[in-house]
Amino acid sequence: MSTKITVTLPDDAITRLENMAKLTGQDVDDVLATTIALSLPDLNPATYDASKIAELSDDEVLRLTKIELRTEQDRRLTELLDRQQAGKLLESERAELQTLMQTYQVGLLRKAQALHEAVKRGLMEPMGA
C-alpha cells in the first residue's frame, strides 16, 4: 500500500536525485522512495512519547533534559554492543540490539530537544557558555 505526497526540494537535492535516477535507470520517485526507506529508521511510535517539546511545561522540559535509559536497558545495551564488537553477537540478539539502539537514539533526540528548549526558555544557561 502506498500514499502519494508532494514535496518541495532544494535544487541540489533534485540534481542528486536526477543523477542517481539516470545512473540506476530508475524513476526519480523510486529513487526517492528507496532513499527514504534505506536511510530512515523504522521507529515504533508506541515506544516513545512524541509530544511537541514546545507544548510541555517548564517542569516537563527540565525533566526531559535528564532522561536516561532504564538501568536494565542501559546495562543490556552495553553488553550487546560489547558482544557485537567482540564478534560474539548471536543472530537472536541482533533484533534486541536494534530495538535498544532505537530506544537510545529516540531518547537522545528527545533529551537534545529538551536541552535546546530549556535554553530557549531561559531555564538553563546556553551549554558551553
Partner: protein, 140 residues
Amino acid sequence: MISNALRKRVRQTAKDRCGYCLSEQKYVMGSLEIDHIMPQARGGTDAESNLWLSCRMCNGFKGAQIIGHDPLTKRQIKLFNPRTQRWSRHFKWSADGTQMIGKTATGRATVIALQLNNYLAVMVRREWVGAGWFPPKNEG
C-alpha cells in the same frame, strides 16, 4: 577484563567524549562506551593503547569494522584511530555544525563506515547547536 582504574584513565585521556563524533558524556544518555579501537573480534586486546571512548551510535555502527571505503580515491583504508590520530586533520564540521565532513581518505571512509551523518545524529546535533554547545570549540 578492563579494571575500573583503567576505565577512569581512558575516560580522562579521551576527555569524556566520543572520539569519533565528539559527543560529550554530559549530553548523551548513559555512559559513553569503552571502545576497542581494534575490535576484539579482530584480535584487539584490552590494553590501554587499544581503548578509547565512543558514544553508543558510533560504537554500534562501527561494530567490528577496521577498514572503510573512500568514495573519492576508491581506496580501502583503515578507519580513524581516535587515540593516535588528530580529529581536526581528518574531519571538519559543515557550515551549520550538524554534519561531519571527511577531509582525508581516512575521514571520508570513517564518515561512511560509522554512519556519522545518520539522520538522527544530525537532528540531535541540530538541537545541540541551538542549545549553544555544538560544534565543540576544542576539536583536538
